[in-house]
């Protein structure tokens, strides 16, 4: 166990995919030409007034329920006052003392096992506009995003590692995708994250001084930022220094960070209830109605995968973290006798390259057929992965069975077909045979390799190994 542990709290901002913005009738869409989805309300024209979009409340409640939060029967919108060019009203409408969702928790699965991360609360708020820095033109303001509804999910300081933070964010993304309240895309900024991190001696109950890193916009950067900041703080403590409570900017390109604002310069946001908006009262019946609309969530699916298909928790978690993948896997698993092999293919070769958006580019039927070929040992795993990759990139609906036939890729499972090749390989590798007999098991790989090469990779590797061992055993010492 290492001497120090990280204590991490996250604030995750998620843009809600409501049709309209939070306080006006402007379209809530990504990628429109700058300053086209705007009106007097979202650009804070003098005299304009906000009117809360009910769909935002419904979506936020849905997200809250998915995160096991309590829905507050009474909540309130407040003004957070500060000056910045992306904020035309000079205040953000958000929630402070009385947020919409209270408490909650999310279970995360990492290679180290399962842990429960508690939430402090979830509140709703309006996004600000966007500053665009253009060479030669200076800084321009695009207010399309001003008034886009957000939820902010605030955790307790329960996260202990970058891997846990990553798993937490992936779970949040899964939950907002499953419930359909957001696309959860970090690459588009529809999910962003502030990291609060302090370091303490492992096992200590006391919290250290924390720093905050704001607006990190990819899973990868969150991991990097945490690793970087943890290391930085540990180095300071090790050299007898003290951590300054401050906001830091993480530079994801150079993997460095620098102070942005010290505690002394901390803003006083002068929160107060927004007099333009009435308090939000939620009836239990409304919560019940929304609860009924929530589909099966990842944790439920995960448990089902473990039980039904005998997958590990970790693998089941990976599959369920993306609703597209989960749906895809389930369909494929139903069509094959070897669901576990299908899961392995997805985890090894689909997940790493999967874009945050778009369809999965093959059919569950194709994957099921491929898993069957593997399971029935009609092809070996090398061939399996090759075909899987091909199916992912090929635009046509490649039929793995037909492809194997056409390209003579069937695994050679026939002993007599391998016999001669194996004899030759053994004869060519006397040295390896000697080594193997001396107990150097790995030496056999050279002989297997030669057989594989001679069969263009089609020999059944297990059968080949078994036969080689039998042959070597027959050779006198």
């Amino acid at each position: 166990m290492s001497k120090y542990e990280a204590v991490i709290g996250l604030e995750v901002h998620v843009e809600l995919m409501t049709e309209k913005k939070i306080f006006c009738h402007c379209k809530n869409e990504f990628g429109a030409a700058p300053n086209t989805n705007i009106c007097p309300v979202c650009i804070a024209m003098p005299g304009a007034l906000p009117v809360l979009n009910r769909q935002v409340i419904d979506y936020a409640i849905k997200a809250g329920l998915a995160c096991n939060s309590e829905i507050a029967p009474y909540s309130q919108l407040e003004r957070k006052n500060y000056f910045y060019p992306d904020l035309p009203s000079a205040y953000q409408i958000t929630q402070g003392k009385h947020p919409l969702c209270l408490g909650g928790h999310i279970d995360v699965e990492t290679a180290d096992g399962k842990r429960r991360i508690r939430l402090n609360h979830i509140h709703i708020e309006a996004d600000a506009g966007k500053l665009v820095h253009l060479e030669g033109e200076g800084t321009l303001v695009d207010l399309n995003r001003a008034g886009v509804p957000l939820i902010e999910i605030v955790t307790e300081p329960d996260i202990r590692s970058a891997a846990e933070a990553d798993a937490f964010l992936r779970k949040i993304r899964a939950l907002v995708q499953y419930t359909g309240v957001s696309d959860g895309r970090m690459d588009r900024g529809s999910m962003r994250c502030d990291v609060n991190l302090s370091v303490r001696t492992t096992g200590s109950e006391k919290l250290g001084t924390r720093t905050e890193m704001k607006n990190i916009n990819s899973f990868n950067f969150v991991v990097k930022a945490i690793e970087h900041e943890f290391k930085r703080q540990v180095e300071i403590l090790e050299s007898g220094g003290e951590i300054d409570q401050e906001t830091r900017r993480f530079d994801s390109v150079n993997n460095t960070s620098s102070p942005l604002r010290s505690k002394e310069d901390a803003m006083d946001y002068r929160y107060f209830p927004d007099p333009d908006l009435v308090p939000i009262a939620i009836k239990p019946s409304q919560v019940e109605q929304i609860k009924a609309e929530i589909p099966e969530l990842p944790d439920v699916r995960m448990a089902a995968y473990v039980k039904r298909w005998d997958l590990s928790h970790y693998d089941a978690d990976l599959l369920t973290n993306d609703i597209r993948v989960a749906d895809f896997f389930e369909k494929a698993a139903d069509k094959t006798s070897y669901p576990k092999l299908a899961a392995n293919l997805i985890i090894a070769d689909l997940l790493p390259g999967l874009e945050e958006e778009g369809e999965i580019s093959l059919l569950p039927r194709q994957l099921a057929d491929l898993a069957d070929l593997l399971g029935k040992e009609e092809i070996n795993s090398n061939t399996g992965r090759k075909i899987f990759k091909l199916m992912l990139t090929e635009t046509g609906e490649l039929d793995p069975g037909a492809y194997v036939k056409e390209n003579n890729l069937a695994q050679i499972n026939d002993r007599s077909a391998l016999e001669d090749l194996i004899n030759t390989a053994i004869a060519n590798n006397e040295r390896a045979v000697v080594d193997y007999k001396k107990g150097k098991e790995i030496a056999i790989k050279a002989i297997i390799g030669q057989v594989m090469k001679a069969t263009s990779g089609l020999a059944n590797p297990l059968l080949t190994e078994e036969m080689i061992k039998e042959k070597i055993a027959e050779i006198p010492d």
Binding site: M45, P46, G47, A48, F83, P88, Y91, P275, D276, V278
Partner: protein
Amino acid sequence: MDINKMDIKQLAQGLRAKDFTAVELCGHFLSEIEAKEPEINALITVTSKVALDEASSCDKALAEGQELPILAGIPFALKDNILTKGILTSGGSKTLANFIPPYDATVRKKLKEQKTVLLGKTNLDEFAMGSTTESSFYGPTKNPLDTSRAPGGSSGGSAAAVAAGEAPFALGSDTGGSICQPAAYCGIVGMRPSYSLVSRYGVIAMTSSMDQVGPLTRTVQDNALVLQAIAGHDPQDSVSHNHPLPDFSARLGRGVEGLKIGLPLDHLETKVRPEIKNAILKVVANLESQGAKIVTLRTGNLEAALPAYYLLTSAEVSSNLGRFDGIHYGYRSKNYETLEDIYYNSRSEGLGKEAKRRIMLGTFALSSSFYDAFYVKAQKVRTYIAREMAKALEQADLILAPVTADIAPKLGTTKSPVERYKESFSVVLAPLAGLPALSLPSGYQVEGMPIGLQLIGSSFSEPLLYQAGEAVMALNSEEKGS
């Protein structure tokens, strides 16, 4: 036929009888404006072209025999914190001296639909903060009854325009007496409606929790007609009252017999000039002789209303005026290198003294260390005042109270801000409690200046206030010359 003496109903009849056209009527008021404005300065912008266009459109509709609302063709003036599409809306501030709104306030839209005729935009204290119009970037308005005196504020331009005969009616806005007080100083009728009765959409926010738009008119009847036209639910204002509107004129002509009128004696004993107290007592005696029942009100201590009002208004102002930072809205200083320079210098150069004072007070009151001691405490006082006012209104149908401690002050009187704030003691009660207040002349004068009084009722009791107000005005004409 003297147009200046005609009320809205008579003007509407004149239009329909073709005694004059809307264009002629408009022309009459535009020439009044031209003659009087150089001295009075009630208007920041005169919208002659818009007025004549709107008037001829009304004439056309009349000629086609269309049934038009009663306000059709009636000219009016609008306080310059109410947004008018394509027409300067300055809020009386340097910072918005070139702000041409791209949309209309709901009240302007409603009056447009009624085919009224916009004569111009009236002067006001900067962002409606003040009680004399002296904090306007466009200079003070003069009281038409005595041009050495202030017309009151912040809706001083609206009150003066009506009192000077420049417009048959005007809209003002009231946050803590900004309609009632200038109406009293100028001897006209002003209604601060119940909070949420009239849409705030398109009105430059000062204190969002108290701002209300209301009519300034020469008669109670006119006032009820105008309120009828501007009140009503607006889905664009979240706090807007969503109930069917009453007929605000329904109770006119019923007199005061049987009405219980409450008198807050504390106020009269200690705070107002003796002549004002006497005028009010005379009105009360007359109302009693007409069958009203006079009740001396027992309320708790209302002294904290004034500081609570100024804390809350400053707090909200500090947030509402944030947007005038020189980036998206408001004057931008030429003197800057960094973003911070733009903020500091634009606000320093663009905003006036009173605005800055309230921004600083409000920023302080909302700061995390003082929030509970000031903002939260003030909100508690507000709740207490609202309860006390409700209790008072259980004892009586309405409250009759002074509007001001004195008559309209001389322009240029130097007073400390606190002294000025203190003058509002009587007009902040209704706004703090969200109640309607009707300000009207008592019929008595001192130093040749009118003495006003106000009637405060329960929320949405405007028809009752008009009923009693009309009776007070009827006494006025009987008492003329006293």
